[in-house]
């Protein structure tokens, strides 16, 4: 069963434009949601997590339990934001052992 869905495989925006990367999840209980990013020729790394409620590199993500979504947003895209973005889910915040990634969205910011 697909637990994390990222509907867009590719997304292109112009520099300075707002960007939103969509993520929907299907899991009951209290999952914890994450965004991981992979820049060109670099390792996968954590961008942000919903319990932190912080903005990283200008990105924010709000967990909407009603819509089961965790979309990633940035008001003004920069060229250095071009990367592969993965939404991910941990089933249980404190006791989960499994971890599920979406299929990823490749973001290109056009100069």
């Amino acid at each position: 069963a697909q637990r994390v869905t990222q509907p867009e495989k590719l997304l292109s925006v112009f520099k300075g434009a707002p960007v939103e990367l969509k993520c929907n999840y299907s899991y009951s209980g209290s999952p914890e949601l994450f965004w991981y990013v992979q820049y060109s020729r670099q390792r996968l790394q954590l961008l942000l997590r919903h319990i932190s409620r912080e903005s990283i590199k200008g990105f924010t993500a709000d967990l909407n339990k009603g819509e089961t979504s965790f979309h990633l947003k940035k008001p003004f895209a920069q060229e250095e934001d071009s990367a592969m973005y993965y939404c991910a889910l941990s089933p249980q915040r404190y006791t989960g052992n499994q971890f599920y990634f979406g299929t990823g969205t490749s973001l290109t910011v056009i100069p």
């Binding site: 390792r43 954590l46 941990s90 052992n97 971890f99 299929t103």
Partner: protein
């Protein structure tokens, strides 16, 4: 102060061969995860270790896949009698906290190609 390392970085195997992939996690990290990432897909969870204990192996695709972490640090993922569908990048990640709720630090991956 190095991060997670994996070896080899690339492995080419003939169908039917056995392979062993190594992961060196960050020192002191209790949690260790293995993932399989096929081309164009996100990483798929394979197994989870808490120190030396393999607490979850629900993601291992068949009994040809075996993972161990005997001393709670280095881990090895072994694939017996490799098949073409095993071709993928295998990622290892470690975390300071118990379970999957913490930040995971990823290695560079091992790209396995089965001919």
């Amino acid at each position: 102060g190095a991060g997670v390392s994996q070896s080899p970085r690339y492995k080419v195997a003939k169908r039917g061969q056995d392979v062993a992939l190594r992961c060196d996690p960050i020192s002191g990290h209790v949690s260790l995860f293995w993932y399989q990432q096929a081309l164009g897909q996100g990483p798929e969870f394979l197994t989870y270790f808490q120190n030396e204990a393999q607490l979850d192996k629900s993601g291992l695709p068949s009994d040809r896949f075996f993972a161990e972490r005997p001393e709670g640090s280095v881990s090895t993922l072994k694939i017996q009698r490799t098949q073409q569908e095993d071709s993928a990048v295998y990622l290892c990640a470690s975390s300071l906290v118990l379970g999957s709720g913490g930040e995971q630090f990823f290695g560079p991956g091992t790209r396995l190609t089965v001919l």
